[in-house]
């Protein structure tokens, strides 16, 4: 099955009005998002995430390379009817919430009863049905962001492209959005999620790509990316602290690391001394640690290098 969203060696360069100052936002950028997954798109500020998303939506054209969305070239108008898009810092026309959703649903080609049903369902999905009669001008930023999500969902899209969908939300609303994204995946939709909130990405995404200085520096499943090769953490009870080198007390328990191929022997040693094994887990680093590791070196001299006079 072809990817739902595919970038092929894309380069995007911004030029000043005179054409003398150039900034390369994306370079040799390739990525493929498969159907039915939640794909996390990560990168520091200025890495080119929004540029990549805007290219896919047809808001701008690549300087080189090409891309396809739902099998059609970027910018294909009819294909956008099958997409839900939420921009970073979303802005919507100031009208009553229900009317606003009907407007955006209408632009997606819905009308009549189908539009009414879709608008109601989208309002319910973001838990805003009580606000249907209120004007968006009176909404908080978080509420506008939820409305932005509702307008992205109103056309029952196959692919959701979300740029920082939870940046303005309170913790409860973030949990609700996470659950919504998981429901979308269960319904067979694909979610392309750009976010700075790494903890959230870690909780919902099947695969992630980390972008730095306009290039993808790592792509893969979270399990593959976060596991440190070979190390296992064992927690045991009723064993002396000196039994394993580097062991540490954790309450009444002892916590220590061993190589994966020494795991069996270590467990047998615990049992041999009359102890009990409480847990055995492969050691994982956090997504934040990985993110910083991959982007730290590049972030320092990032913008200065990319501005080519």
């Amino acid at each position: 099955m072809p990817p739902v969203l595919e970038y092929e060696r894309i380069m995007k360069e911004y030029r000043s009005w005179t054409g003398r100052r150039r900034i390369r936002a994306l370079e040799d950028f390739s990525l493929a998002v498969e159907r039915g997954e939640i794909f996390g798109f990560l990168g520091p500020n200025g890495a080119g995430k929004s540029t990549a998303i805007h290219l896919a939506m047809g808001f701008m054209k690549p300087s080189a390379g090409k891309g396809r969305m739902l099998g059609k070239p970027f910018g294909h108008v009819a294909t956008r009817r099958r997409i839900g898009f939420l921009a970073e810092n979303v802005a919507l026309y100031h009208r009553r919430a229900g009317a606003a959703l009907r407007f955006y649903g209408g632009l997606s080609g819905l009308h009549g009863q189908a539009l009414t049903r879709a608008a109601t369902a989208a309002m319910q999905a973001v838990d805003m049905q009580a606000e249907v009669g209120r004007n968006l001008a009176q909404f908080s930023r978080g509420m506008v962001q939820r409305m932005g999500l509702a307008q992205a969902l109103v056309n029952d899209p196959e692919l959701l492209i979300l740029d920082e969908p939870t940046s303005a939300l309170d913790p409860a609303a973030r949990v609700a959005v996470r659950e919504l994204l998981l429901r979308c995946r269960d319904q067979g939709k694909t979610v392309f999620l750009s976010s700075h909130l790494l903890s959230e990405v870690e909780l919902v995404c099947d695969r992630v790509a980390i972008l730095s200085r306009g290039r993808v520096v790592r792509t893969g499943t979270l399990n593959d990316m976060l596991e440190i090769t070979g190390q296992v953490e064992i927690v045991a009870e009723q064993v002396p602290l000196t039994l394993f080198a580097g062991a540490a007390m954790d309450g009444s328990r002892v916590r220590f690391l061993v190589r994966g191929n020494e795991q069996r022997r270590a467990i047998e040693r615990v049992w041999a001394t009359g102890g009990e094994v409480v847990s055995v887990n492969p050691v994982r680093r956090s997504l934040e640690e990985l993110f910083l590791e991959l982007t730290r070196d590049r972030t320092e001299d990032d913008r200065a290098d990319r501005g080519v006079s």
């Binding site: 047809g58 009817r81 921009a87 810092n89 919507l92 632009l107």
Partner: protein
């Protein structure tokens, strides 16, 4: 087509306060007739001429700011992420401008019928003149919209003034052909001159030309706008 109508209605809704204040002028003009009904047509005609010129200026105002306003507020992203092309988006904006300016011209026409009709102004010519005025407004809005696809609002307004103004100046100096090149002046001239003569034969041709040129400028605007990057920075 439905998307275009939605965008047009949305534009008119967004411009409801400017429209309201424009209509207050027409209302003020009507009150002028109520307060002093015995006064001759000169004062009423003077305000009528002013309103005619202003309405064309409103066309420039709407045309120069429409795209920029949507782009600066980032609202354009949610609109263009839907299944509509940039041509449709611009047509929606233009139709919205036509709607707002049409409401203004209609109200102006009704007021003029009441105020000027009693002084023997030929009403059929007056309404043809209002149609010409609306066409001039639409043409100006379309030209300014085309300019605003690559120029900031102030410069697009200046460029429109130049493109529509030079033929007007040449026409004022007696060059007949210039009236037909971006015929804003040619369309408004009978109203400014308060010449509501029944036999003004050139107007239907100018009307047709105005509509055709408005469509041409929309096509040019679409061609340019669909090739431009929507550079919208996150705040």
């Amino acid at each position: 087509m439905r998307a275009v109508l939605l965008l047009a209605a949305n534009f008119a809704r967004e411009q409801r306060w400017p429209l309201f204040f424009l209509l207050l002028w027409v209302l003020g003009w009507a009150l002028f007739g109520l307060v002093d009904p015995e006064r001759g047509p000169e004062d009423a005609l003077m305000i009528f001429r002013q309103l005619a010129v202003y309405s064309v200026t409103f066309g420039v105002f709407f045309g120069s700011s429409a795209i920029q306003a949507d782009q600066r507020s980032r609202r354009v992203l949610a609109v263009l992420s839907k299944g509509i092309s940039r041509q449709q988006y611009l047509l929606g904006l233009l139709a919205g401008m036509g709607l707002v300016l049409g409401i203004f011209c209609l109200c102006m026409g009704f007021t003029a019928t009441w105020l000027l009709g009693r002084f023997g102004v030929h009403l059929a010519s007056l309404w043809l003149g209002m149609l010409a005025l609306w066409t001039a407004c639409l043409l100006t809005a379309s030209l300014t919209l085309a300019m605003s696809t690559f120029l900031p609002p102030l410069f697009s307004a200046i460029a429109t003034g130049t493109f529509a103004g030079i033929p007007a100046l040449l026409a004022l100096r007696g060059d007949v052909v210039s009236k037909f090149v971006i015929p804003v002046y040619g369309l408004v001239e009978p109203l400014i001159a308060s010449d509501f003569a029944p036999a003004w034969h050139a107007r239907p041709l100018l009307l047709l030309l105005g509509w055709v040129e408005a469509a041409v400028f929309w096509i040019i605007a679409s061609w340019i706008f669909s090739r431009r990057d929507l550079a919208v920075a996150a705040e």
